[in-house]
Symmetry: C2
Subunit: 196 residues, 2 copies
């Protein structure tokens, strides 16, 4: 891919670690640009996840479908976020989750098979991913805490704060599924909030 296409990723990286020009060139040589259409999958439940994807534009949803056919939304990702099924990626076993594009989505992909070699070559990238994982882990623990301690209404208010630009972009049933409530209950919460 071209340096120009990689610009959003290089900007993102430069907020966390400083790569030299030659390190940037090495990186650009191994990452790939890919455009997915709305409805297409970056990862499908049951497949083996082969990439970490950095989103340049668009929006993707991570969800899984349980034995009863029920969808559960794990997370959303938009511009400047990463997405993948990390469990599948690090064990190279079938993915638990689907990552599906809610909009046409442009990504930069890191192929997993060269990721460990890349870390050895450019340790600053291992630093970047270590730091990203720290934050992702903290956010994930906080979500567990919220599910314990907040009401559905409080969780919805938090969701709006956490994803301020996303709510207009996604169907309401996905927001409900992220909160672990029904679409009807979400409507009720929203009309309650509107009258407060």
């Amino acid at each position: 891919m071209t340096r120009d296409q990689a610009k959003p990723l290089l900007n993102y990286i430069s907020n966390h670690v400083n790569l030299s020009d030659s390190e940037e060139d090495e990186l650009i040589a191994i990452i790939n640009y890919r455009k997915y259409l709305k409805g297409q999958y970056l990862v499908q439940q049951g497949d083996i996840c082969k990439h970490s994807s950095f989103i340049i534009s668009g929006c993707a949803r991570t969800f899984f479908v349980d034995d009863k056919g029920q969808e559960h939304t794990i997370m959303f990702a938009i511009e400047d976020w990463w997405t993948s099924d990390i469990g599948s990626l690090i064990t190279q076993s079938p993915a638990d989750y689907n990552v599906q594009c809610i909009e046409d989505t442009e990504v930069i992909q890191f192929p997993y098979d060269i990721q460990e070699a890349l870390y050895l070559k450019i340790p600053k990238l291992e630093r970047l991913f270590r730091k990203m994982l720290e934050r992702a882990f903290v956010a994930s623990q906080k979500r567990i805490v919220r599910s314990f301690s907040l009401t559905a209404k409080e969780q919805y208010i938090h969701f709006k704060k956490q994803y301020p630009k996303i709510e207009q972009r996604i169907p309401q049933y996905m927001v409900a599924s992220y909160l672990g409530i029904t679409k009807e209950f979400l409507s009720k919460i929203k009309s309650q909030l509107a009258t407060e």
Copy 2:
């Protein structure tokens, strides 16, 4: 601390990355051995977390107390596990969680203020922590999924599998609080399972 005291940690590390003798010596020079008594805290909600702790013996529980005074259990940690409030550690802001010893507990502590310098000196340790974080993040996401898709009974069965050696060591109310149910409901589940 002595090489002998560090043995459990060095064994653990050798399962993931290979340190040279001199790298092990550098590590030993900066980590600390500490014994906590049952009931003492490794981290207290509101304090700034200063260490990552590797447990040599004993058992610690991570929990938080919400505005209503209700305790919520996030995780347990026993021999060969790590514990800390990572959110507090990486931002050096007040901890959201308590980490309290359920038994007398021996730990090896990595001081946070030298952790980044340590990674620069021994990149293999950054690799170790990156890999640990990947697994911790995956486990945390799976817990969110279980809370969505499994009944309390199924979650309890999973808990027994995940923590096979812990259940006998901790009070039942902590297990209930980990599962997000009441002590009474847990008793009911257990007597149901006993008759199956």
